[in-house]
Amino acid sequence: MQIITRQIKEKPLTVIIEYPELNDSVSNLLKKIKSLDVEFSANLDGRQVKIGLSDVYYIENVERKLFIYTAKEVYRLDATMAEIDDMAIDTDLVRISRTCIMNTDHLKEIRQVKNSHLEAVLDNDEMLIVSRKYLKDIKKAFQKGLV
């Protein structure tokens, strides 16, 4: 694969992909690039902000209210888990429990704590509980090469 980059000041960021045939690798690459464009409209102290997918660590449902967690901030998200599930298709977001969707791009490790809970460790050293039921979804995301 050849990677060519060039700066053109007058143009917005443009990615051109040339391929001999549209195979799984190309499709995965396209999905990955498209997912970079995913943004969430969230609230922080009453002001509306846009959060890029790459900044999202996880999304949690707390008493039917959704919150987006980034490395340092917590934002209120005006959406439902079902809507986020739809947006999460072909992105690095994977559901890890009934109330939490994690960005696997920030996943450092998943471990089992003394034959008990499963724990996801993020790259900011935050830990999330992973439900066993959703472990196969995380595995699938890695198998599909989305991550």
């Binding site: 490790e109 034959n115 008990s116 809970h117 499963l118 472990l135 995380i138």
Partner: protein, 134 residues
């Protein structure tokens, strides 16, 4: 191999169900057909309970299996009494039947979780190496 075993079990279930349901039109619900239909009914109820426990309980793996053991044994006993599989003298056998199934399920589940964790963590490690190279 896992897929072949899974497909075999699914296909066998489907064959049994189709053969027995078609047989009902000729011979009616015989004792054997009744037993098979009851087993499918019990499996359906247990699958729903298992799904709900997985969805709404957040316990450790061992605790989750202990809760499931008692819940499933209770359902099997109740179902067994209703369809007259058990009598007051032998109802305790449900504990043994369910116990054996749960020990097998726990062993398979633990092994699968270990393998899945190894796979995911290896992928993460590979990704970190690639990121460092780039």
């Amino acid at each position: 191999m896992k897929k072949i075993l899974k497909d075999t079990l699914l296909l066998a279930s489907l064959m049994i169900l189709v053969v027995f349901i078609i047989s009902i039109f000729w011979v009616g619900i015989t004792e054997e057909i009744g037993l098979v239909l009851k087993l499918f009914g019990l499996a359906f109820v247990l699958s729903i309970v298992n799904y709900l426990l997985d969805e709404y309980l957040s316990l450790s793996i061992i605790m989750s299996y202990i809760v499931k053991y008692f819940a499933i044994t209770g359902i099997v006993m109740l179902f067994g009494f209703i369809v007259r599989w058990f009598y007051p003298s032998n109802f305790w056998m449900a504990f043994i039947y369910v116990g054996v199934v749960m020990v097998l399920a726990y062993s398979i589940d633990s092994f699968r979780i270990k393998k899945d964790l190894e796979f995911i963590n290896k992928k993460i490690a590979d990704r970190s190496i690639l990121d460092k190279e780039n």
